[in-house]
């Protein structure tokens, strides 16, 4: 009597809930996921905007546009990146941050260089540790990265005793 077994694993979804942009280093997990079965991109489009503990991002090219859209903040007038952000925009960003509870902890910049982080920190007298590029968040905070597989395992025989 021969025991038959079929076991198929299929990774159906990977969910990463964090701030990463599509090109950020935090998407390393995408390699683990079969092409076409990745659930993160649509989720990410909706959730790239998550800001933990009241931290606020300086909206840039797209990382926080979902968030801004959701909360009706007009991002069109904002600088595309920290590098070309005029001081008044910076000030507005910090003011925005300060108006959110716990936001005094810091400010997120998008695609910022080390120099950008330093300048913002000193210009607005925020601790250097509290001025971060948003993409650094991938390794921090209570973010979840979950993978889900669906499998089926059916036994049986091809010979009847």
């Amino acid at each position: 009597m021969r025991e038959m077994l079929t076991h198929v694993d299929e990774l159906v979804a990977a969910v990463r809930v964090d701030h990463t942009g599509s090109g950020g280093p935090d998407l390393s997990g995408i390699d683990q996921v079969k092409k076409g079965m990745y659930a993160a991109p649509p989720i990410q489009r909706d959730f790239v905007c998550l800001a933990p503990r009241g931290w606020v991002d300086l909206p840039g090219q797209g990382t926080l546009t979902g968030w801004a859209r959701e909360y009706t903040i007009d991002v069109k007038g904002w600088a595309r990146s920290t590098k070309d952000a005029p001081p008044e925009r910076m000030a507005a960003a910090v003011e925005l941050a300060a108006s959110v509870q716990a936001a005094a902890q810091g400010v997120f910049l998008d695609e910022a260089t080390p120099s950008d982080l330093y300048q913002v920190s000193h210009h607005f007298r925020i601790a250097e540790t509290n001025v971060l590029d948003i993409h650094e968040l991938g390794a921090q905070g209570p973010w979840g990265f979950f993978t889900m597989t669906l499998a089926y395992e059916v036994h049986g025989r091809d010979e009847v005793p």
Binding site: M1, M4, L5, T6, V8, D9, E10, V12, A13, V15, V17, M37, A39, P42, I43, D46, F47, L50, A51, P52, R53, G54, E70, Y71, T72, I73, L96, S99, V100, Q101, A102, A103, G141, P142, W143, G144, F145, F146, T147, M148, T149, L150, A151, Y152, E153, V154, H155, G156, R157, D158, E159, V160, P161
Partner: protein, 171 residues
Amino acid sequence: MLPDRLEAWAPALAAELGRVEADVEAEMKAQAASMVRRARHGVRRRTGRLARSISGPVNVRGGHIEAKLYSDHPGARIQDEGGRIRAGRRDMPVPIGDVKVHPRSVSGLFLLRAKSGKRFLATKTAGNIRLWFRLMSEVNVPATRWAQKAHERTAQQVPGALLQRIHKRVT
């Protein structure tokens, strides 16, 4: 102008994010249950034993959640994939028509050999012969794909369902 909603939302978000894992697990359990229902609907039923044998265990290991469609019924694989079943020591009684019982539960069965050489298990009541089973050494079982179809359909549903759950949690 900062919307009021954002002010309330920001401090609550961290706590809500902490519940996402439980949400994802709950959704996968719901999807597994749904996969089981689809599978049971897709099997060819006679006694209902195969359908009852189908389960949908969910295992969680760290950040990985596996939902599985499972059956250890002897006919599970062959009905899903189709194929040829061979008899062992004795020929197999293959039910005829809508017969859904095991030969042991039919009293008065006797072996009837037809002129064609085919062999049947039959009963005789008031002069009428009823054929219940045909004895065969090999049987071709057509594939129903009950497991594969349930699996594929569920796989299509999972990403959207997860998205909906997570969206509800964090917004």
